[in-house]
Symmetry: D2
Subunit: 454 residues, 4 copies
């Protein structure tokens, strides 16, 4: 199904996990295997060139490959058949050494790791771009006051910068995790039929080491045919970063509701209209993000369950990864790209934010009054008193300030201008700026390191 | 990704949910809408023919459609645009009346329901075929004795017929549920922009009724733009029937293990080999089934979560259905086809089954000895005594019969030939035949009804 | 963990699935088994009374039971031990016949089915109460006009009655499904050690039939020790009805946002306050519902995966049901009770609903203008023209009416008072009333039938 | 529900997440908050002692607390009420300063982090114990030859040591991840009502820093009320390590099947029996592990979905963590304890392993013949030839050796004693020993570092 690819999977990752690239990565493994084995004296040096020349996806009949995979149970068996035939047509001797000593899962998993390396590189860049745009918005809006909302009700004033900084902070953690994970997952798979490299006799370790060098992958301590925790980590990372961006998009769509209208998506001609309602500007970017994010819990549930792979090669669990991982990663790619566009181009209506602070006629500032009062009459009593005035304000739709100024239990302790000051939202954002500065400093530090390591 | 389609999605359902068929179903809705509205006097009769002629997927540029959907947020908006342009090229007047009064979700959901009808029909046939093959195998193996296994340990003898009858029984329940569900889900979606059909003024109900007739769908009491329980039921049915077939395939693969080897998959040339090990006959059919079944919990998790669709049209939940439902149904189609082949062609080694009953040197028959003994010394004492002899038999690797015949606590109550009889598995299958007959009778009854209703 | 039980599991179902009731239901099975076997002449009639007297949860040491279950792997083994010891203390002979011919899973599953019957009865009543309250609210608000919202943006006017009717319609479907499911799931489990009732020899079917009568359960065609589709259906029903109520609670919490404030939860003293903010009225009921609903996809994912139970008794899949099903059902019980309170007592601010229709300065009525215009210039051109005016209205914050009345492309076709009429929301709810009437009629019919069948 | 606690949750973690400990951890936060605020001059020093004395779970009425939480929507509000009342009874002045400046989520989340620290410490020890036992078994069985199994069919010989080393390798990775994660998650939550610490005015950062010191937690750059990625990581770690151990238990139960019987669970009196079948030794430990592991995908699905927490405090997502995280962690605790027992005490029948290698009459050695032959006639031709002989061996139930020795296409290239050598499994474990040594070296290195850091 390709109809939803542009909507949901608009990133480099979609090409990386295309059918063609999947097959090419497997062929890259086969070519490298031949080189490594020739260097180790396991196969004749003469075979390398012919095998290498044949290892191009252009030479493979993909539809026939897919069809044969239905009988073989995996892609490697028919791919090796086609490849061997192609080599044979050029060089009968060389054809004998195709896929020498390897098993289907070696080529499938290592091919996947090669794709994964491309994906992680692309993802790192995309994440950096998101971080950059977001850090700029945090800075820009560090003094933009707006209602903080808890339980989907106005709570206290915050700054839009602080709200954005929460996401930036989380994304910086995901960046750290990405770098930690990277090393652990970019490993060669090479174990032969049952993970012992038996077919290479004593040459196993040397070939494996050379093959890892050829492909620039880490050498694992032991084949991981049925130990899939590394891939689980990859899934978790992508699902996790999507969850963070999904929280952002969900908040964004809440802020974009007609009644709230504190932000809106970047305006792009032809985007977000309705077939029936000419006035609609639908949050199409948020929808695309949320749709993809909605998939993550289910895809991850499958990956966790798929970890229980039987013995030395599984029946169901391994195979389930073949569609799930590309599905998950290409959806995540879409989320990153859509988020980058959303964050970089979002429209912020700071006046509406300021205005929304007044909706509750001062109730949003009730906590500061309570705390000021608490110094005189204790926290619980103060809470109780202000709460009752708030309920009156709500019931009678009167400003809290009026009720406070007319209540002797209040005015005994607080003057009218104290009350005015206490009810000013812009004086009530507490440590918001402090927190924002800390997150931006972390961004500077971490991204400096990241750019040095590029 | 198409590389795994033949392996995992080999059924009519794959074509039914292809991109082309998805778009054609939406066009079928648009054509029927024009006819219905003309019959109700809402649009000019003259517009019908031009619109109808244009409603062919051949006229639609699919790649451009997908690309535009990324901006529009759904397929309907760009599809209506292309369709209108195509009609206009033939008949400017008619072009005015394309998609008249409908909203994107009307055409998307109703198109999906049309596809679903095809899918349910195909599924019903496939399920019937599975039932037929399975009933035949139940009958054939109603007296084939084999070890019953609990906790993956030999328990007591059963018949292979009884084992198969359990699956048949469950599948008959799924058949009943399919028929109950069918009526409930094949309903028209038609509500206009916010579910009020406001754009049709007083003509709404009449157009809706006529449109339902045109498409041969049921009329819903109210539009269901954000009430998705019917589709959830569809997902549940397919996931559920797959779970039943997955249990079967899992058991089958356990019975097919090298040490057990009581059954094997149908032998098909070129199927189930290994790239490294020439002796392997891999359970490729079971693997394909189990791979697809492995996906179901995750896909259903997404569908449950997606039910929480906001207000009159959702942001994320609705859109998540677009890939999930076709994914789920086409995987289920593959499961049905693979199961049918597996059940119809499976090889059963009844001699190996009989032989496996002797592995435990009679321990599998311990319960019958216990029960015979219990009549004399009470159930718990008998259990305790026989259990200790079983543990000795295991530890000393001696036949239970020997130990029983040499133990005066036993021989006081049971003669040697009583013991021989008690240890004969073929006399120990209890009510297995009775249960099998009951399930076959239900099959006869239910499938008679089903074939009458065809 | 009991700290969250009152918050999340406030219904009769919590007691039904308590530890005590779980054990009592198993004992009810044991007592009925003795009666049935005595009636069939399988055990002495004299044993029945002593066994029956001992089958009371008061006689069971629950903590010791739980501890022994850790070694036994299930509750039935240590329960039968305690029960046998208790019977023996009264009547040595009777003790021989405790649990005669049954297996652990017979008593565990049948006990669960007995609990399930109580649960379904309680649920049916709760659902009826929800339906009754909701039908009353639908009626009451059938003419209350409010903004319809799609993609979380104002779309067109709807009525609050229509919005509620969507939920009522879905819940009526869940009621039908409950009645269909009930018959299918209330079945006896009785198969003995491997599902053959071997230990009862030829008496198996007669004892099973009598036992079903004793417990007033349906007799299954074959034991269902590892065919769990009925329980999966139960899980699906509860998860599904929760999803429908979760959609309702989610919409409710959106409508309750400070800026929207069209509804609020029933006011109950001491409910919904904040520890820090005296003015807060948190949607505590919605939160409790949404918290429980949030669990459903994950719990169902486990149930689907657990269906793949090996052979005649499973290792992991069966056991996973023991906590998951009670967890799921007691959470669902909480959802039903909380929803009933929310629906019966909700506060509706119809003035705020009316006022919100004006937020977009008439844009919400744009579709009716488009359609009126389409009669003159065609749908697409009309859409295009009105859309551009809407964007101007948004950008310049001017009422749409003003722009329409000043645009000659409009005024050529529509007079000023046409425009006024077209922009009146209360004239624009289309077939809302028609849909509401249909749903209420269905409610009358279905609940009449339901109350007759009570 | 406590009936399954000993079976499924037998570890220190169960006590750590008990109701009592949950409340005590919240009280520890409140006491530390008073100390920190007094040190910063925010509240009077005199208040500290009275508050501290009251912060004991013994003083809290837990049932009333749970009941009030149903109205309040969380535990903190009624807990602070009870605590304040208790302090007030001793010291009216001090009572004013209870919970000063904090919000419900501060105390709930920080309390949870304190529990989490205990849990991570206990887990680290448990994991070390598992690693130690497993490393010893790897060493012990490094030369124990057994069938490697792929697709649940015999593939090639491996060693049991290699099989175990795969799990050890994965668990070593989980140990590294645990150490990486630890720092990131043990952070204070302290943000006040909307994450700005507004109620503390300029003192916010100082109090936060002091509070972090008091509790020995890391200070976060910004409050994380609705950024839950750290907790998601915790869930992922536990679910992941359980998946690795679940794979082990699943393999173990497969190896323990009656026909395979290569291993069995530690023999413990009274463990693993059957209520009906005296000879049964059920894999109760594996079942307990697999039951808990079965829950992980669903619990994680909920956690991923729960990440989308709205704005500054969520409605549903946050609350869903309250039962899910303790559920997940206590189940994981049970998995670790059960795995430790299983691994330390498992019985290995190396003779049966050796014997099983002969089941296929030499077919398991087919690959080495193929490879030897390939040197003469090329890989594909060799594969084809040996495959056909394997099929004949299977069909005619004759040893492969016989067929090889009688086939001139083979004997042209291989002598009879070559064939005998090629068919000896113990000479065919390739690099198994090499891999095992590498994993053990990693274990030595990593655990040396780990014990130094203790």
């Amino acid at each position: 199904m390709d109809l939803f690819t542009p909507l949901l999977r608009q990133s480099e990752l979609t090409a990386i996990f295309s059918d063609r690239q999947t097959v090419q990565s497997m062929l890259d493994f086969e070519a490298a295997l031949a080189r490594a084995e020739a260097k180790c004296g396991v196969i004749p040096v003469e075979a390398v060139a012919a095998i290498g020349r044949a290892c191009k996806v252009e030479n493979i009949a993909l539809a026939a490959l897919a069809q044969s995979a239905a009988d073989a149970g995996n892609l490697a068996i028919p791919l090796v058949k086609q490849l061997t035939a192609n080599v044979k047509a050029q060089d009968t001797q060389a054809a004998r050494y195709v896929h020498w000593g390897a098993t289907s899962q070696d080529v499938i998993d290592s091919g996947w790791v090669l794709q994964l390396r491309e994906a992680l590189n692309a993802t790192d860049k995309r994440l950096n771009a998101v971080l950059r745009s977001l850090a700029a918005q945090v800075e820009k809006h560090s003094a933009t006051v707006m209602p903080g909302r808890t339980w989907m009700q106005h709570a206290l004033p915050i700054t839009f910068g602080l709200k954005l900084a929460g996401t930036l902070d989380a994304l910086l953690r995901w960046q750290s995790r990405l770098h930690e994970m990277r090393e652990r997952v970019l490993v060669l798979q090479f174990g032969g039929a049952a993970g012992t490299l038996a077919s290479l006799n004593a040459d196993g370790p040397a070939v494996a080491a050379q093959l890892a060098r050829e492909l620039d992958l880490t050498l694992a301590d032991t084949p991981w045919h049925s130990q899939r925790d590394r891939l689980l980590d990859v899934g978790h990372w992508y699902a996790g970063v999507c969850a963070t961006l999904g929280k952002f998009a969900n908040d964004f769509s809440l802020l974009m509701q007609t009644e709230v209208a504190e932000v809106s998506e970047p305006v792009v001609a032809g985007r977000g209209g309705s077939s029936a309602m000419p006035h609609k500007r639908n949050p199409v970017g948020c929808a695309a993000i949320l749709t993809a994010v909605q998939r993550m819990p289910g895809l991850m549930a499958t990956l966790y369950a798929s970890q229980l792979q039987q013995h030395e090669r599984a029946l169901g669990g391994w195979q389930a990864e073949w569609e799930v991982l590309p599905d998950l990663l290409t959806l995540a790619g879409g989320v990153l790209v859509q988020s980058e566009q959303l964050i970089a181009g979002m429209q912020v209506d700071s006046q509406k934010m300021r205005k929304d602070l007044e909706i509750t006629h001062g109730l949003i500032m009730a906590e500061s009054v309570t705390l000021a009062l608490a110094a005189f009459i204790g926290k619980q009593e103060a809470h109780h008193l202000v709460e009752s005035l708030c309920h009156r304000a709500l019931d009678e739709k009167r400003p809290l300030q009026q009720l406070l100024e007319n209540d002797p239990r209040i005015t005994t302790h607080l003057h009218s201008d104290d009350i005015t000051t206490l009810l000013d939202p812009s004086r009530a954002t507490g440590s918001a700026t402090h927190f924002v500065r800390q997150v931006l400093a972390r961004y500077q530090e971490q991204c400096h390191v990241a750019s040095l390591s590029d």
